[in-house]
Symmetry: C2
Amino acid sequence: MEPRKRPGRTPAQGGRTARPRQAEVARLAGVSQATVSLVLSPKPDGKGRLISEETRRRVLEAARSLGYVPDPAARRLAAARNNLLGVFSFTATFPTDVQHSYYPFLVGVEREAAALGYDLVLFTGSSTGGAGAAGPDALSRVRLADGCLFIGRHTPRAELKRLVEDGFPVVHLGRREELEGVAWVGADYVEATRGVVAHLAELRHRRIVLVREDDDAPASADRQRGFLEGLEAAGLASGPAAVFRSADPQRELTPERLRAWADEGVTAFVAEETDTGAAWRGLLSAVRAAGLDCPGDVSLALLGSPPSDLASEPVPTGFDIPRPQLGAAAVRLLAALVAGEEEAREPLVGCAFRPGPTTGPPRART
Amino acid sequence: MEPRKRPGRTPAQGGRTARPRQAEVARLAGVSQATVSLVLSPKPDGKGRLISEETRRRVLEAARSLGYVPDPAARRLAAARNNLLGVFSFTATFPTDVQHSYYPFLVGVEREAAALGYDLVLFTGSSTGGAGAAGPDALSRVRLADGCLFIGRHTPRAELKRLVEDGFPVVHLGRREELEGVAWVGADYVEATRGVVAHLAELRHRRIVLVREDDDAPASADRQRGFLEGLEAAGLASGPAAVFRSADPQRELTPERLRAWADEGVTAFVAEETDTGAAWRGLLSAVRAAGLDCPGDVSLALLGSPPSDLASEPVPTGFDIPRPQLGAAAVRLLAALVAGEEEAREPLVGCAFRPGPTTGPPRART
DNA sequence: TTGTATGCGTTATCAA
DNA sequence: TTGATAACGCATACAA
């Protein structure tokens, strides 16, 4: 039986012109398809040109005139590379609720990817139940890319581990030490928080309280750790009493509570930054409701950046998470993994201390 | 010559264990590779099961025990499509300056793409070297996807046309009627603006002035057209005098000018929305500087949404551009083109009228 | 109902 | 220096 023309092909392929293939470039240039491949995929092997300058020119010209672009799927199948980096977030990458946006990270991710010569594939998460929905192989689609960046707290561990075990380059944006073998890049919340505490201690605050949400995320734990370490370093009383942990700070952080603390000699509060900003919001409103002056009566600091809807307020003392830099660092690491380099870089990115008008020396006690 | 073991394979493929293939699943289940494929990729064709329940079970069991996951590259290669939609913006997709961001569109783009089973490839036109260098064939890279969405005012016409001529599915986000053959999806500024004028006319305003920037973008032209049509429909005097066009409204829109208009009987102003929001800003500050009360002395309307940094101000009367919906509509259209369907849908998306506190009946003239 | 054969577009090997 | 050719893993038309 002789070969069919195009078996395995759905009949209604669409009436449009197919994308140009290497074979067509070859015909136009009067060479073989393999030659086209050689010309078009420069070997970094350092091997000198095996193709004559003349042929080379003709092939390039033909490719250009045809608008040829290599098929990423075929490339990967042939065990080559795509120049495609994946970005996968379990929740929507562009949520309607801008509060949870990964936008600032993406700024850095895009810039760095472009600089390194990669395009980005945004794998639409399972949020909408669309592309990859919830199936166990939802994450599998990312294998189309050369490597993939994961963002968000809720990355399914098993799937991620599977990818890593298969040798697929993966980088997680955000600390993920529990996931063994998963490379990650994160902000150094511990150090940054220590810095904020040190700042308050220098101002002569003696009792400081951390307001945090009831969440087990590494980001929360890190801040608490940095907080306690900071207290110790300053020779201040630490202990669980210094941490106020609440599932709903905006409710449970009452003005009475605040006054009680003040009476006990607490002169400063630090709140963690989270998606919702609940801790900080709760703290702010409680202070106001209690009629306390800031920074006169109490100093306030935010362990992160203020929510965007509070943009009209003065920017509080705290630190800035360098999200674009984080994104860029993650891409650099991922690119290194893709290139087969051993992972050997500092995964922590420092946060810059941000002075602000919400902290000052405590009022002398009477 | 007998077949090599794994030719075309780079020798140092990595020491990692290869993932299971359909062939291995087949061996374990005692069936052929094709059968495995049949079982594992359910056809939505509605065709009943061609595979016996027994075989089916065995295959699934074998696949599970081996931890089989399909290779997306192979799958896409065989299917002759990527399930990838490109998104191309001439400026960075994620600019540092959030003002100019396409974020709201992307929200809808992502959601709809996910719903339709597509992933997104982000192309950056302005990228600094790297992937998308600035070459004339920069746009050519988008051919890697099954189709591409273009966003922004500055899409190079020639390149776009070339893509379309080659039968590559292209959709432009924003009206682009000059570019023949280029499918587009846009907001119906004409109709929306007419609505705003009608609203003012109903309030009994008799003289209304449009403040616009000196830009030839379709978006500006459409608003002007809708404005003039709205005036006519209400039986009001139109003509060029009703349009104030300025390259720098924030400078040229002086309080004196405003007073002069008021003296002439102008009781309402509408300003177009642009990237910078210059028209609206200029109008607002001039009204304030002139000491005019709004909506007492003058009614103001904004043909679009207010800039985010004016979030603290009351939201003016006007209309909302449904950006997420626009993005979604564009993706739907693009998907239809990719699927080979003839383009046959309404490219205009309506804008919702937004009542606000900045308009009211004009003060009775003395 | 299942197996066989073939090709999707690319890279890489080997012979010419 | 270039041209055949064999896979990569999967999906399908067709035969059995």
